[in-house]
Symmetry: C2
Subunit: 216 residues, 2 copies
DNA sequence: TTGTATTCGTGACTCATTTCACAAGGACCC
DNA sequence: GGGTCCTTGTGAAATGAGTCACGAATACAA
């Protein structure tokens, strides 16, 4: 129950554990050790135990952690008990690529619509998902109960559309644009900036940074 | 010179400063205050000063930081003085979307080739970039002097291709696959895992986490 | 030249995260 | 039932990151 304040890096690790637990559950494994989870999530066994101990005693000493109950607990902690309803805004190349990304569903995120400005696309379906006019953004978000948005529009309109999404009641935005969005109350934002990651790689290489890094 | 050990989050911030400095330089601005850089990079003025002071005294008290020299210094620190030669491995939807991402060039990363298994694509050009056979991965990487790879292949072959890239002498991999790659000595890896980010969003929303987060 | 308003640079402090070491609990074999 | 292995759970120590407050240096006006 004690879903205390969790740091960003810890959430990332939990995500990693969950991924591995799902895989193990599908394989029929019953228990897993902290060491094994650590290997997969690029961390240490002690770290895994400390992380999981935040939520009570789940493991059994001498055996390890029961795979399915632990998986379900992490699902609960991360807020994934029911799937999130999401949309992709901007059905350009990147947007359509994401529409075809089948892992969304497996991980608990259901893409229910895409939005674009292109009249050629509007009304059609891409990967089985309807493309709607961005003019109807607010009303469609409300009627379809969309809670999350993946933003893949060009730099120019990015800020304005993010504001409209916030206004329409979206709870979270995954930002693929190179634009830094303003924080808005009630809306969580997470950026996937390719340039930032590449520059991080560049830095690590020139400084001879051996460690594989965030190991993803 | 004192290019000391820099934390991952600091590198991310430096990246943010650099982005803003490039913008200001293009506008002709001469100086910028720590406060202004902080606003744009979603941090505090004190943090900006602390970050930059790691590399010596660049600012002028009472005035701020000179835009162009500071930009050049960050370019040097991040290892971006000369452009990196990069390739995209996997010319599927996501791969081709990235091939068309013009910001690569502006930020100092030159995509010189793409690789795929599809005979339909091999030998053609996508977005002006030649698509080569993945069979020739090693030889092409060597002859073209490719240092960085963006990995956008399916889960199945991801590990094996990452190993081949490492073997061929690539120095860094930006991993867009949902596969966790093994660390290899001499190769830096950075993952862009959509599921991890979405789960992070999910967690923050269910726990009522207001803060806009990493602000990107 | 003096005074005032800015803004950086930095050491001290606080807070958070990670690592360490080891006791406690359970499984398993004989 | 006793002994032996494992593996977790967890306080304490160590490390690291971020914040604060203030002195030092500069610009600018009068």
């Amino acid at each position: 129950m004690s879903t205390r304040k969790i740091s960003d890096s810890m959430v990332r690790r939990l995500s990693g554990y969950l991924r591995q637990l799902r895989f193990l559950a599908a394989e029929g494994r019953r228990v897993v050790s902290s060491q094994e989870l650590a290997d997969e999530a690029a961390t240490t066994a002690a770290q895994v135990r400390k992380d999981l101990s935040q939520f009570g005693s789940f493991g059994q000493r001498g055996r390890g952690y029961p795979v399915v109950p632990l998986r379900d607990e992490l699902v609960r902690i991360l807020g994934l008990r029911r799937p999130w309803r999401a949309c992709v805004v901007g059905a350009g190349r990147l947007g359509t690529a994401l529409l075809g990304y089948e892992d969304f569903g497996k991980r608990g995120f259901e893409i229910v619509a895409a939005f674009d400005v292109d009249p050629e696309l509007i009304g059609k379906e891409v990967e089985g998902i309807p493309v709607l006019s961005i003019e109807d953004l607010e009303s469609e978000i409300r009627t379809r109960g969309i809670e999350l948005a993946v933003l893949t529009v060009p730099h120019g309109p990015a800020r304005r559309i993010a504001d409209r999404l916030a206004e329409a009641g979206v709870r979270g935005i995954l930002n693929f644009t190179p634009t830094r969005l303003r924080a808005r109350p009630g809306v969580s934002i997470r950026g996937m900036d390719i340039a930032v990651e590449l520059e991080g790689l560049s830095y690590r290489i020139v400084t001879g940074g051996e460690p594989g890094g965030n190991g993803a």
